[in-house]
Protein backbone atom coordinates (compact mmCIF):
# COMPACT_ATOMS: atom_id res chain seq x y z
CA UNK A 1 0.00 0.00 0.00
CA UNK A 2 1.28 3.47 -0.85
CA UNK A 3 0.82 6.45 1.47
CA UNK A 4 -2.09 7.60 -0.71
CA UNK A 5 -3.67 4.17 -0.41
CA UNK A 6 -3.32 4.31 3.36
CA UNK A 7 -5.39 7.52 3.25
CA UNK A 8 -8.01 5.69 1.17
CA UNK A 9 -7.98 2.78 3.63
CA UNK A 10 -8.53 5.08 6.63
CA UNK A 11 -11.26 7.08 4.87
CA UNK A 12 -12.98 3.84 3.91
CA UNK A 13 -12.97 2.73 7.54
CA UNK A 14 -14.34 6.10 8.64
CA UNK A 15 -17.14 5.80 6.08
CA UNK A 16 -18.02 2.42 7.56
CA UNK A 17 -18.14 3.53 11.17
CA UNK A 18 -19.46 7.07 10.64
CA UNK A 19 -21.82 6.57 7.69
CA UNK A 20 -23.48 9.98 8.06
CA UNK A 21 -20.18 11.78 7.44
CA UNK A 22 -18.65 12.97 4.18
CA UNK A 23 -14.95 12.06 3.97
CA UNK A 24 -14.11 13.63 0.59
CA UNK A 25 -13.27 17.03 2.07
CA UNK A 26 -11.25 15.87 5.08
CA UNK A 27 -7.99 17.77 5.39
CA UNK A 28 -4.80 15.91 6.16
CA UNK A 29 -3.51 17.86 9.13
CA UNK A 30 -6.59 18.92 11.09
CA UNK A 31 -7.74 16.59 13.87
CA UNK A 32 -10.36 14.18 12.57
CA UNK A 33 -12.54 14.89 15.63
CA UNK A 34 -12.60 18.59 14.73
CA UNK A 35 -13.83 17.87 11.21
CA UNK A 36 -16.46 15.16 11.69
CA UNK A 37 -18.52 13.69 14.50
CA UNK A 38 -16.21 11.02 16.00
CA UNK A 39 -16.10 10.00 19.65
CA UNK A 40 -13.94 7.63 21.64
CA UNK A 41 -16.11 4.62 20.74
CA UNK A 42 -15.57 5.48 17.07
CA UNK A 43 -11.80 5.50 17.55
CA UNK A 44 -12.09 2.05 19.10
CA UNK A 45 -14.00 1.07 15.96
CA UNK A 46 -11.18 2.40 13.77
CA UNK A 47 -8.70 0.31 15.72
CA UNK A 48 -10.98 -2.74 15.46
CA UNK A 49 -11.36 -2.34 11.69
CA UNK A 50 -7.57 -2.03 11.26
CA UNK A 51 -7.23 -5.27 13.20
CA UNK A 52 -9.93 -7.04 11.15
CA UNK A 53 -8.97 -5.80 7.71
CA UNK A 54 -5.20 -5.61 7.97
CA UNK A 55 -4.18 -7.58 11.04
CA UNK A 56 -2.69 -4.41 12.55
CA UNK A 57 -2.70 -4.20 16.33
CA UNK A 58 -2.58 -0.60 17.56
CA UNK A 59 -1.68 -0.50 21.27
CA UNK A 60 -3.68 1.89 23.43
CA UNK A 61 -0.70 4.18 24.03
CA UNK A 62 -0.50 4.79 20.28
CA UNK A 63 -4.15 5.80 19.73
CA UNK A 64 -3.05 9.46 19.86
CA UNK A 65 -1.02 8.90 16.69
CA UNK A 66 -4.29 8.45 14.76
CA UNK A 67 -5.68 11.92 15.55
CA UNK A 68 -5.31 13.30 12.00
CA UNK A 69 -5.05 11.72 8.55
CA UNK A 70 -1.37 12.70 8.38
CA UNK A 71 -0.87 11.08 11.78
CA UNK A 72 -2.64 7.94 10.53
CA UNK A 73 -0.43 7.72 7.44
CA UNK A 74 2.79 8.34 9.34
CA UNK A 75 1.93 5.70 11.89
CA UNK A 76 0.24 3.11 9.67
CA UNK A 77 2.23 3.23 6.46
CA UNK A 78 5.21 1.29 7.84
CA UNK A 79 2.73 -1.35 9.11
CA UNK A 80 0.67 -1.51 5.91
CA UNK A 81 3.36 -1.08 3.24
CA UNK A 82 3.35 -4.75 2.34
CA UNK A 83 -0.44 -5.21 2.54
CA UNK A 84 -3.07 -4.74 -0.19
CA UNK A 85 -5.85 -2.15 0.15
CA UNK A 86 -9.33 -3.45 1.09
CA UNK A 87 -12.44 -1.38 0.71
CA UNK A 88 -15.24 -2.68 2.90
CA UNK A 89 -17.76 0.11 2.82
CA UNK A 90 -18.91 -0.35 -0.77
CA UNK A 91 -20.16 -3.87 0.01
CA UNK A 92 -22.39 -3.05 2.99
CA UNK A 93 -25.71 -1.28 3.03
CA UNK A 94 -25.77 1.70 5.40
CA UNK A 95 -29.21 0.82 6.74
CA UNK A 96 -28.22 -2.76 7.44
CA UNK A 97 -27.86 -3.64 11.12
CA UNK A 98 -24.14 -4.25 10.92
CA UNK A 99 -22.56 -5.47 14.10
CA UNK A 100 -18.85 -5.07 14.47
Amino acid sequence: MTRDEVVLAVKDIIETIAPDEETANLTMDERLRDQIDLDSMDFLDIVMELRKLYGVQVPEEDYKELASLTGCVDYLHPLLAEKPLHCSYSSSSPSEQTIS
Binding site: D20, L44, K52, S95
Partner: protein
Amino acid sequence: MLARVVITGVGLSSPNGNDLADFRKALLEKRSGVEAYEIRHFGKTVAGVCDFDALRYQKKKEVRRGTRAGSIAVWCANEALRDAGLDVADFDPERIGVYTGTTEHGNVETEHEIHNVSQHGFDLRFWSHHHNPRTVANNPAGEITLNLGLKGPAYSLGGACAAGNLGLVQGVQMLQLGVVDLALGGGISESIHTFGIFASFAAQGALASHADPTKASRPFDAARNGIVVSEGGCLYALERLDDAVARGANILAEVVGYNVNSDGTDFVLPDSAGQNACIRGALRSAGLVAEDIDLISTHATSTPSGDISEARAIHEVFGDSASVRVNNTKSYIGHAMGAAAALELAGNLPSFTDGWVHPTINVDALDPECSVRGLVVNEPVRADVDTILNMSFGMLGINSAVVVRRYRP
Protein backbone atom coordinates in the same frame (compact mmCIF):
# COMPACT_ATOMS: atom_id res chain seq x y z
CA MET B 1 -57.65 8.71 45.07
CA LEU B 2 -55.14 7.89 42.36
CA ALA B 3 -54.95 10.15 39.34
CA ARG B 4 -56.75 8.91 36.25
CA VAL B 5 -54.33 8.06 33.42
CA VAL B 6 -55.17 8.11 29.74
CA ILE B 7 -53.62 7.04 26.46
CA THR B 8 -53.19 10.00 24.14
CA GLY B 9 -50.92 8.55 21.47
CA VAL B 10 -49.78 5.26 19.96
CA GLY B 11 -46.53 4.58 18.13
CA LEU B 12 -46.06 1.16 16.66
CA SER B 13 -44.44 -1.07 14.13
CA SER B 14 -46.17 -4.35 13.46
CA PRO B 15 -45.43 -6.94 10.75
CA ASN B 16 -48.61 -5.69 9.03
CA GLY B 17 -48.49 -1.94 9.66
CA ASN B 18 -46.28 0.93 10.81
CA ASP B 19 -48.95 3.10 12.40
CA LEU B 20 -52.22 2.46 14.15
CA ALA B 21 -54.40 3.32 11.15
CA ASP B 22 -52.52 0.91 8.85
CA PHE B 23 -52.44 -1.78 11.52
CA ARG B 24 -56.17 -1.46 12.17
CA LYS B 25 -56.92 -1.58 8.44
CA ALA B 26 -54.90 -4.78 8.10
CA LEU B 27 -56.78 -6.36 11.00
CA LEU B 28 -60.20 -5.51 9.58
CA GLU B 29 -59.09 -6.68 6.12
CA LYS B 30 -57.71 -9.90 7.65
CA ARG B 31 -54.23 -9.23 6.29
CA SER B 32 -51.44 -11.27 7.87
CA GLY B 33 -47.91 -9.94 8.34
CA VAL B 34 -46.24 -13.34 8.63
CA GLU B 35 -43.79 -14.33 5.90
CA ALA B 36 -41.13 -16.86 4.96
CA TYR B 37 -37.93 -16.21 6.89
CA GLU B 38 -34.47 -17.64 7.17
CA ILE B 39 -31.92 -17.20 9.93
CA ARG B 40 -28.32 -18.32 10.46
CA HIS B 41 -27.88 -21.86 11.79
CA PHE B 42 -31.62 -22.50 12.10
CA GLY B 43 -32.51 -22.19 8.41
CA LYS B 44 -35.92 -21.71 6.86
CA THR B 45 -38.90 -20.89 9.02
CA VAL B 46 -41.63 -18.23 9.21
CA ALA B 47 -41.68 -14.95 11.12
CA GLY B 48 -43.33 -11.56 11.47
CA VAL B 49 -40.97 -8.97 9.99
CA CYS B 50 -41.31 -5.17 10.26
CA ASP B 51 -40.43 -2.73 7.46
CA PHE B 52 -40.46 0.71 9.12
CA ASP B 53 -37.90 3.26 7.91
CA ALA B 54 -35.38 3.47 10.77
CA LEU B 55 -33.64 6.43 9.15
CA ARG B 56 -36.71 8.62 9.57
CA TYR B 57 -35.76 9.17 13.22
CA GLN B 58 -32.16 7.92 13.49
CA LYS B 59 -28.83 8.76 11.91
CA LYS B 60 -27.07 5.91 10.13
CA LYS B 61 -24.48 5.82 12.91
CA GLU B 62 -27.17 5.47 15.56
CA VAL B 63 -28.61 2.51 13.68
CA ARG B 64 -25.17 0.94 13.30
CA ARG B 65 -24.09 1.50 16.89
CA GLY B 66 -27.38 0.53 18.49
CA THR B 67 -29.61 -2.50 18.33
CA ARG B 68 -32.64 -3.50 16.30
CA ALA B 69 -34.65 -3.24 19.53
CA GLY B 70 -33.29 0.27 19.96
CA SER B 71 -34.33 1.24 16.43
CA ILE B 72 -37.82 -0.17 16.94
CA ALA B 73 -38.06 1.65 20.28
CA VAL B 74 -36.92 4.96 18.80
CA TRP B 75 -39.43 4.59 15.97
CA CYS B 76 -42.29 3.83 18.35
CA ALA B 77 -41.39 6.65 20.76
CA ASN B 78 -41.25 9.29 18.03
CA GLU B 79 -44.44 8.00 16.44
CA ALA B 80 -46.27 7.98 19.79
CA LEU B 81 -45.28 11.60 20.42
CA ARG B 82 -46.32 12.57 16.90
CA ASP B 83 -49.66 10.78 17.29
CA ALA B 84 -50.24 12.50 20.64
CA GLY B 85 -49.31 15.91 19.26
CA LEU B 86 -46.61 16.22 21.91
CA ASP B 87 -43.20 17.87 21.72
CA VAL B 88 -40.70 16.81 24.37
CA ALA B 89 -39.35 20.37 24.36
CA ASP B 90 -42.56 21.40 26.15
CA PHE B 91 -41.69 19.17 29.13
CA ASP B 92 -39.04 19.14 31.83
CA PRO B 93 -36.87 16.37 30.31
CA GLU B 94 -36.34 14.92 33.80
CA ARG B 95 -40.08 14.27 34.05
CA ILE B 96 -40.52 12.09 30.98
CA GLY B 97 -40.33 8.36 31.71
CA VAL B 98 -39.70 5.52 29.26
CA TYR B 99 -40.72 1.94 30.05
CA THR B 100 -39.98 -0.74 27.48
CA GLY B 101 -41.28 -4.22 28.11
CA THR B 102 -39.01 -6.93 26.73
CA THR B 103 -39.27 -10.69 26.66
CA GLU B 104 -35.49 -10.96 26.42
CA HIS B 105 -32.72 -8.64 25.34
CA GLY B 106 -29.12 -9.26 24.35
CA ASN B 107 -29.42 -12.64 22.70
CA VAL B 108 -29.31 -11.12 19.22
CA GLU B 109 -26.17 -9.11 19.90
CA THR B 110 -24.42 -11.93 21.75
CA GLU B 111 -25.05 -14.36 18.91
CA HIS B 112 -23.66 -11.79 16.47
CA GLU B 113 -20.49 -11.34 18.52
CA ILE B 114 -19.93 -15.08 18.87
CA HIS B 115 -20.36 -15.42 15.12
CA ASN B 116 -17.97 -12.50 14.62
CA VAL B 117 -15.19 -13.94 16.78
CA SER B 118 -15.76 -17.38 15.24
CA GLN B 119 -14.55 -15.81 11.98
CA HIS B 120 -11.31 -14.88 13.77
CA GLY B 121 -10.53 -18.18 15.48
CA PHE B 122 -12.38 -17.13 18.65
CA ASP B 123 -9.75 -14.47 19.31
CA LEU B 124 -11.58 -12.22 21.77
CA ARG B 125 -9.60 -9.17 20.67
CA PHE B 126 -12.22 -9.09 17.91
CA TRP B 127 -15.11 -8.95 20.41
CA SER B 128 -16.77 -5.53 20.01
CA HIS B 129 -16.62 -2.76 22.58
CA HIS B 130 -20.25 -2.13 21.56
CA HIS B 131 -21.35 -5.44 23.06
CA ASN B 132 -22.11 -4.21 26.59
CA PRO B 133 -24.10 -1.07 25.71
CA ARG B 134 -26.01 -3.11 23.16
CA THR B 135 -26.89 -5.90 25.56
CA VAL B 136 -27.71 -4.13 28.81
CA ALA B 137 -31.36 -4.71 29.62
CA ASN B 138 -32.21 -1.00 29.47
CA ASN B 139 -30.88 -0.71 25.91
CA PRO B 140 -34.18 -0.03 24.08
CA ALA B 141 -35.36 2.55 26.62
CA GLY B 142 -31.90 4.08 26.81
CA GLU B 143 -31.66 4.47 23.04
CA ILE B 144 -34.92 6.46 23.19
CA THR B 145 -33.43 8.81 25.79
CA LEU B 146 -30.32 9.35 23.64
CA ASN B 147 -32.42 9.99 20.56
CA LEU B 148 -34.79 12.46 22.24
CA GLY B 149 -32.47 13.93 24.88
CA LEU B 150 -34.63 12.71 27.75
CA LYS B 151 -33.39 12.83 31.36
CA GLY B 152 -36.08 10.96 33.27
CA PRO B 153 -36.37 7.38 34.55
CA ALA B 154 -36.04 5.05 31.55
CA TYR B 155 -35.62 1.29 31.74
CA SER B 156 -36.86 -2.04 30.55
CA LEU B 157 -39.26 -4.38 32.25
CA GLY B 158 -38.43 -8.02 31.67
CA GLY B 159 -41.62 -10.00 31.75
CA ALA B 160 -41.33 -12.76 29.18
CA CYS B 161 -44.30 -12.56 26.84
CA ALA B 162 -46.35 -10.50 29.31
CA ALA B 163 -43.88 -7.62 29.11
CA GLY B 164 -45.84 -5.29 26.82
CA ASN B 165 -48.51 -4.90 29.48
CA LEU B 166 -45.82 -4.32 32.12
CA GLY B 167 -44.38 -1.32 30.27
CA LEU B 168 -47.84 0.20 30.07
CA VAL B 169 -48.57 -0.51 33.74
CA GLN B 170 -45.24 0.98 34.85
CA GLY B 171 -46.03 4.16 32.94
CA VAL B 172 -49.43 4.43 34.62
CA GLN B 173 -47.90 3.89 38.05
CA MET B 174 -45.14 6.46 37.59
CA LEU B 175 -47.72 9.04 36.50
CA GLN B 176 -49.90 8.21 39.50
CA LEU B 177 -46.88 8.50 41.82
CA GLY B 178 -46.20 11.92 40.37
CA VAL B 179 -42.65 10.96 39.35
CA VAL B 180 -43.18 11.85 35.68
CA ASP B 181 -45.54 14.07 33.69
CA LEU B 182 -45.38 12.04 30.49
CA ALA B 183 -44.70 8.33 30.13
CA LEU B 184 -43.89 6.29 27.07
CA GLY B 185 -44.79 2.71 27.98
CA GLY B 186 -45.29 -0.53 26.10
CA GLY B 187 -43.11 -3.25 24.63
CA ILE B 188 -40.40 -4.01 22.08
CA SER B 189 -39.24 -7.18 20.30
CA GLU B 190 -36.18 -7.85 18.15
CA SER B 191 -36.55 -11.56 18.77
CA ILE B 192 -36.57 -12.74 15.15
CA HIS B 193 -32.88 -11.84 14.92
CA THR B 194 -31.80 -14.51 17.42
CA PHE B 195 -31.63 -18.03 16.04
CA GLY B 196 -31.77 -19.29 19.61
CA ILE B 197 -35.42 -18.43 20.13
CA PHE B 198 -36.44 -20.39 17.03
CA ALA B 199 -34.23 -23.33 17.99
CA SER B 200 -35.54 -23.37 21.55
CA PHE B 201 -39.20 -23.26 20.54
CA ALA B 202 -38.49 -25.99 17.98
CA ALA B 203 -36.77 -28.12 20.62
CA GLN B 204 -39.81 -27.62 22.83
CA GLY B 205 -42.15 -28.68 20.00
CA ALA B 206 -43.72 -25.23 20.11
CA LEU B 207 -42.60 -23.58 16.85
CA ALA B 208 -45.25 -23.12 14.16
CA SER B 209 -44.87 -24.52 10.68
CA HIS B 210 -47.21 -24.29 7.71
CA ALA B 211 -46.78 -24.38 3.94
CA ASP B 212 -48.46 -20.95 3.77
CA PRO B 213 -46.68 -18.59 6.22
CA THR B 214 -49.81 -16.44 6.58
CA LYS B 215 -51.64 -19.46 8.01
CA ALA B 216 -48.93 -20.58 10.43
CA SER B 217 -50.25 -18.60 13.40
CA ARG B 218 -53.70 -20.08 14.08
CA PRO B 219 -54.79 -19.77 17.71
CA PHE B 220 -57.82 -21.88 18.70
CA ASP B 221 -57.73 -23.84 15.43
CA ALA B 222 -57.61 -27.62 15.80
CA ALA B 223 -54.53 -27.85 13.54
CA ARG B 224 -52.43 -25.23 15.36
CA ASN B 225 -48.89 -26.42 15.93
CA GLY B 226 -46.98 -23.62 17.61
CA ILE B 227 -45.71 -20.05 17.83
CA VAL B 228 -44.70 -17.72 15.00
CA VAL B 229 -41.91 -15.48 16.32
CA SER B 230 -42.20 -11.80 15.37
CA GLU B 231 -40.45 -8.51 15.83
CA GLY B 232 -42.24 -5.27 16.50
CA GLY B 233 -42.97 -2.60 19.02
CA CYS B 234 -45.68 -0.45 20.48
CA LEU B 235 -45.34 2.45 22.91
CA TYR B 236 -48.17 4.50 24.34
CA ALA B 237 -48.03 8.17 25.23
CA LEU B 238 -49.58 8.22 28.70
CA GLU B 239 -50.65 11.31 30.62
CA ARG B 240 -52.64 12.14 33.70
CA LEU B 241 -56.19 12.91 32.63
CA ASP B 242 -56.09 16.48 33.95
CA ASP B 243 -53.01 17.28 31.86
CA ALA B 244 -54.48 15.67 28.75
CA VAL B 245 -57.75 17.57 29.10
CA ALA B 246 -55.96 20.85 29.80
CA ARG B 247 -54.07 20.67 26.53
CA GLY B 248 -57.10 19.45 24.56
CA ALA B 249 -55.55 16.09 23.74
CA ASN B 250 -57.31 13.44 21.73
CA ILE B 251 -57.92 10.79 24.39
CA LEU B 252 -57.85 7.29 22.93
CA ALA B 253 -58.65 5.37 26.13
CA GLU B 254 -58.41 5.44 29.90
CA VAL B 255 -56.41 2.77 31.70
CA VAL B 256 -58.80 1.80 34.48
CA GLY B 257 -57.28 -1.36 35.93
CA TYR B 258 -54.50 -3.89 35.77
CA ASN B 259 -53.04 -6.88 37.51
CA VAL B 260 -49.82 -8.88 37.35
CA ASN B 261 -49.38 -12.18 39.18
CA SER B 262 -47.47 -15.46 39.03
CA ASP B 263 -48.49 -19.10 38.69
CA GLY B 264 -45.57 -20.36 40.73
CA THR B 265 -45.98 -23.77 39.10
CA ASP B 266 -43.85 -24.38 35.99
CA PHE B 267 -41.03 -23.00 33.84
CA VAL B 268 -43.03 -23.07 30.60
CA LEU B 269 -46.51 -24.52 31.07
CA PRO B 270 -49.27 -22.00 31.73
CA ASP B 271 -51.73 -22.51 34.56
CA SER B 272 -55.34 -21.51 34.02
CA ALA B 273 -55.82 -21.04 37.77
CA GLY B 274 -53.13 -18.34 37.79
CA GLN B 275 -54.61 -16.75 34.68
CA ASN B 276 -58.07 -16.81 36.24
CA ALA B 277 -56.73 -15.10 39.37
CA CYS B 278 -54.92 -12.52 37.23
CA ILE B 279 -58.07 -11.62 35.29
CA ARG B 280 -60.21 -11.40 38.44
CA GLY B 281 -57.59 -9.18 40.06
CA ALA B 282 -57.60 -6.84 37.06
CA LEU B 283 -61.39 -6.60 37.15
CA ARG B 284 -61.26 -5.84 40.89
CA SER B 285 -58.69 -3.12 40.41
CA ALA B 286 -60.93 -1.53 37.78
CA GLY B 287 -63.99 -1.80 40.04
CA LEU B 288 -65.70 -3.90 37.38
CA VAL B 289 -67.32 -7.32 37.10
CA ALA B 290 -66.99 -9.79 34.23
CA GLU B 291 -70.22 -8.61 32.60
CA ASP B 292 -68.75 -5.12 32.24
CA ILE B 293 -66.09 -6.28 29.77
CA ASP B 294 -67.12 -5.92 26.13
CA LEU B 295 -64.00 -7.26 24.44
CA ILE B 296 -61.27 -9.66 25.55
CA SER B 297 -58.00 -9.47 23.64
CA THR B 298 -56.52 -12.93 24.20
CA HIS B 299 -52.89 -13.87 24.54
CA ALA B 300 -53.31 -17.25 22.79
CA THR B 301 -50.07 -18.09 20.97
CA SER B 302 -51.25 -20.99 18.79
CA THR B 303 -49.67 -23.71 20.92
CA PRO B 304 -51.76 -26.82 21.53
CA SER B 305 -51.73 -26.64 25.35
CA GLY B 306 -51.47 -22.89 25.95
CA ASP B 307 -54.62 -21.99 24.03
CA ILE B 308 -56.65 -24.58 25.94
CA SER B 309 -55.42 -23.29 29.28
CA GLU B 310 -56.37 -19.73 28.39
CA ALA B 311 -59.76 -20.78 27.00
CA ARG B 312 -60.45 -22.51 30.31
CA ALA B 313 -59.63 -19.37 32.31
CA ILE B 314 -61.82 -17.23 30.04
CA HIS B 315 -64.69 -19.68 30.34
CA GLU B 316 -64.38 -19.73 34.12
CA VAL B 317 -64.47 -15.95 34.45
CA PHE B 318 -66.67 -14.93 31.51
CA GLY B 319 -68.80 -18.05 30.90
CA ASP B 320 -71.96 -16.28 32.10
CA SER B 321 -71.24 -13.07 30.23
CA ALA B 322 -73.70 -12.94 27.33
CA SER B 323 -72.36 -9.96 25.42
CA VAL B 324 -68.59 -10.32 25.67
CA ARG B 325 -66.56 -10.63 22.46
CA VAL B 326 -63.23 -12.46 22.36
CA ASN B 327 -60.53 -12.08 19.71
CA ASN B 328 -56.86 -12.69 19.01
CA THR B 329 -54.28 -10.65 17.11
CA LYS B 330 -51.38 -13.11 17.01
CA SER B 331 -53.28 -14.88 14.24
CA TYR B 332 -52.24 -11.94 12.01
CA ILE B 333 -48.84 -10.89 13.29
CA GLY B 334 -47.49 -13.92 15.13
CA HIS B 335 -46.07 -13.57 18.60
CA ALA B 336 -44.29 -10.22 18.93
CA MET B 337 -42.89 -11.31 22.31
CA GLY B 338 -42.19 -8.24 24.47
CA ALA B 339 -44.28 -6.12 22.11
CA ALA B 340 -47.18 -8.56 21.87
CA ALA B 341 -49.43 -7.24 24.64
CA ALA B 342 -48.93 -3.61 23.65
CA LEU B 343 -49.54 -4.25 19.95
CA GLU B 344 -52.58 -6.42 20.60
CA LEU B 345 -54.22 -3.80 22.79
CA ALA B 346 -53.43 -1.11 20.23
CA GLY B 347 -55.07 -3.10 17.44
CA ASN B 348 -58.28 -3.19 19.45
CA LEU B 349 -58.41 0.45 20.65
CA PRO B 350 -60.06 1.71 17.42
CA SER B 351 -63.09 -0.48 18.18
CA PHE B 352 -64.20 2.33 20.52
CA THR B 353 -64.71 4.55 17.50
CA ASP B 354 -65.16 2.33 14.45
CA GLY B 355 -67.59 -0.09 16.09
CA TRP B 356 -65.90 -3.25 14.78
CA VAL B 357 -64.25 -6.17 16.51
CA HIS B 358 -61.61 -7.84 14.37
CA PRO B 359 -61.70 -11.62 14.36
CA THR B 360 -59.12 -14.25 15.14
CA ILE B 361 -58.22 -15.55 11.68
CA ASN B 362 -57.01 -18.89 10.35
CA VAL B 363 -59.64 -20.90 12.20
CA ASP B 364 -60.56 -23.65 9.72
CA ALA B 365 -61.83 -26.02 12.42
CA LEU B 366 -62.35 -24.57 15.87
CA ASP B 367 -60.82 -26.76 18.58
CA PRO B 368 -63.80 -27.70 20.79
CA GLU B 369 -61.59 -27.18 23.85
CA CYS B 370 -61.03 -23.57 22.76
CA SER B 371 -64.65 -22.79 21.95
CA VAL B 372 -65.16 -19.91 24.34
CA ARG B 373 -68.35 -17.89 24.34
CA GLY B 374 -68.16 -14.77 22.21
CA LEU B 375 -65.11 -15.82 20.16
CA VAL B 376 -65.08 -13.76 16.97
CA VAL B 377 -63.92 -16.14 14.25
CA ASN B 378 -62.65 -15.29 10.77
CA GLU B 379 -65.01 -12.36 10.09
CA PRO B 380 -65.22 -8.99 11.86
CA VAL B 381 -68.41 -8.26 13.80
CA ARG B 382 -70.14 -5.00 14.71
CA ALA B 383 -70.20 -4.31 18.43
CA ASP B 384 -70.48 -1.44 20.88
CA VAL B 385 -67.20 -1.62 22.74
CA ASP B 386 -66.64 0.51 25.83
CA THR B 387 -64.31 -1.73 27.82
CA ILE B 388 -61.40 -3.95 26.73
CA LEU B 389 -59.48 -6.54 28.75
CA ASN B 390 -56.00 -7.18 27.34
CA MET B 391 -54.36 -10.39 28.52
CA SER B 392 -50.74 -11.46 28.19
CA PHE B 393 -48.92 -14.35 29.81
CA GLY B 394 -45.34 -15.57 29.81
CA MET B 395 -42.79 -18.18 30.79
CA LEU B 396 -42.03 -18.80 34.45
CA GLY B 397 -45.73 -18.30 35.01
CA ILE B 398 -46.07 -14.53 34.73
CA ASN B 399 -49.61 -13.31 33.97
CA SER B 400 -50.79 -9.80 33.18
CA ALA B 401 -54.11 -8.19 32.39
CA VAL B 402 -54.94 -4.56 31.64
CA VAL B 403 -58.41 -3.02 31.47
CA VAL B 404 -58.98 0.06 29.33
CA ARG B 405 -62.20 1.98 28.83
CA ARG B 406 -63.55 4.44 26.31
CA TYR B 407 -62.88 7.85 27.82
CA ARG B 408 -65.79 9.39 29.67
CA PRO B 409 -65.28 12.71 31.51
